[in-house]
Subunit: 260 residues, 2 copies
C-alpha cells in the first residue's frame, strides 16, 4: 500500500470533511474515530472499520500491531508522520484515524430502558451522558433535534467508546415519540404537580429518562406527555447539577435498585 504523504490527498480530504461537518457525516453515513482508545473500544465491541489511517512507525508498536492484526492489509493505510495531526485535533503522539460507518438507526424503542435527551447542546455533556448510560447498563439512546451531533469528534471523545454499546436514534420528534412508548417516562424537572423525589421512587421496572437543555430544560410540550417529574434532592444552597451529573445520579440510583 502506498504511503500518503500529503494532507491534500483525496482520502484525507474526505476524513477532514467528516471531522468538521455534520452535513458530510450525514450524507456519507460515515464518521472518524480519533486516537487509539476509540479504535480499541470499537473493535472490542465487534465493530469493523472501513479503513485505519496510521503512520508507518506507529504500526510497529506492540499495542497497535495487536489491534491491527484483526484487520486485512488493505484496511490499513500508511500515512507519513505528522500528516494526520494536520486534519484532526490530535497530537502527534496519538495520531491514528479510523473511518467507520455510522450504524443505521434502529426503529424507535416502544419499550425497555432508554435515555432521552431534549436539545442537550454541549458535546461534552452528550458524550458524558452516553458514558453514564452505558455504565448503568442501558442500551437505548434517543436524541431530539438540536442535540449535539452524536457522531461528532467531540461527542465521540467524551463518550470514550459508549457509542459502540448503545443504539442511537437521532433527530427524533419527542413529542410524537412519547405517546408511542409503553413504559413510564420520567423527566428530571421541577414541577408544581406530579413531582417525585428520586430517592422515594421504585426504579426496578423498565423506564425512559428524559434530560433537557443546559439552560432551558425540557420543553413544556414534552413535559406534558411524561409520566412524572423527578426532583434530585440536594443539600446546601446549590441551585442545580449539570445535565450530565443529573443523569449520572438518576441512572446509578436505578442501577443500585436493580443490583441483586
Amino acid at each position: 500500500m502506498e504511503t500518503i504523504t500529503s494532507a491534500k490527498n483525496e482520502q484525507l480530504k474526505h476524513l477532514s470533511k467528516l471531522l468538521s461537518q455534520a452535513k458530510a457525516r450525514r450524507l456519507h453515513k460515515q464518521t472518524v474515530l480519533e486516537g487509539v482508545h476509540l479504535l480499541q473500544a470499537y473493535l472490542q465491541a465487534g465493530g469493523m472499520p472501513i479503513r485505519v489511517y496510521i503512520p508507518e512507525h506507529k504500526r510497529q508498536t506492540p499495542e497497535i500491531s495487536a489491534l491491527l492484526a484483526k484487520l486485512s492489509e488493505n484496511q490499513q493505510i500508511p500515512v507519513a508522520s505528522g500528516i494526520l495531526a494536520k486534519i484532526s485535533g490530535l497530537t502527534d503522539a496519538e495520531e491514528i484515524l479510523t473511518l467507520i460507518d455510522i450504524p443505521t438507526a434502529p426503529p424507535l424503542p416502544e419499550h425497555g430502558d432508554c435515555v432521552v435527551l431534549d436539545r442537550v447542546q454541549d458535546p461534552g455533556n452528550v458524550g458524558t451522558v452516553m458514558r453514564s448510560t452505558a455504565a448503568a447498563g442501558i442500551k437505548q439512546l434517543i436524541l431530539s433535534n438540536d442535540c449535539a451531533d452524536a457522531w461528532s469528534p467531540k461527542v465521540l471523545r467524551a463518550g470514550m467508546g459508549a457509542h459502540f454499546l448503545l443504539t442511537i436514534c437521532e433527530r427524533v420528534d419527542l413529542s410524537a415519540w412519547c405517546p408511542s412508548y409503553q413504559n413510564p417516562i420520567w423527566a428530571t424537572a421541577l414541577s408544581q404537580h406530579n413531582e417525585h423525589h428520586l430517592y422515594d421512587m421504585t426504579l426496578t421496572e423498565p423506564a425512559a429518562w428524559v434530560f433537557g437543555n443546559e439552560g432551558s430544560g425540557i420543553r413544556p410540550d414534552i413535559l406534558d406527555k411524561v409520566d412524572g417529574c423527578v426532583r434530585i434532592p440536594m443539600a446546601g444552597q446549590t441551585e442545580s447539577l449539570n445535565v450530565a451529573m443529573a443523569a449520572t445520579v438518576c441512572l446509578f440510583e436505578q442501577l443500585r435498585q436493580r443490583l441483586p
Copy 2:
C-alpha cells in the same frame, strides 16, 4: 468614576494577568470572576468584591443594577464597551469582570466530611467535582499538588459558584494529611484487598472521599493510608466513569443514605 477605554489600562493589565497566570493569582491572593452568574453566586454567598468592571450600558439593566446596588460607587469601575472581552474568554454579551480576594485557606480538616482530589488535572473535572461536593452538602475540599488551580477561570466556570460554598485547601501533601484525619478515608480505586462495593457501605458517618488523577488514579503511597477502597458497581462492558461522574455517584449515595 472615569471610564476605562483601553485594555492597556494598568488595572485591566492586572486582571489580565490574574486570568492567565496561576503565579499572579498566588502572589496577589486575588482572582477574577467572569460573567454575571459567578458575581451573583459570590454575592449570594456573602462575598464582597474588591471591584467590579463593567460597561456603562450594562449597569442600566435591571438584573445587574440590582446586583450592583449592594456595592459602593467606588467598587464599580466603568469600562468602555468591548474592552473586557479583549482580556477574557467572555463574549461581549456577558462582559463583566469581578476582582475578588482568594479566601485564606483554613487549617487542614482533621474530621468532618470532605472531598480530596489527588492530581486531578482537568479544570472541568475539578470544577464539576466542586459542584457535586457542594450539592451533596459537603463543605471541605482538599486538593493535592498538581491539581488544576481551583481559582483559575476554567475551574471557576465549571464550579458555577460552588467555590463560595466550600473551604478549599490547595497544594496539600496528602500523604502527611491522611494520618492526621480522624474519620474514615475512602478511596475510589480497584484493590485486591480491603475493597468495598459502594452500595454495600454504610455512609451515615462523616468521612473523607479521595478521587484520583484521570489517567493514573490515586498514588499508591496514599492508597496505603486510606481505610478502604470503594468499587462503583457498573453494568455492561464499560471500563470506568470519569472522575467527576464517579465523585457524583459516591457523594449522592452518601447524601441518599443521610436523607431523613
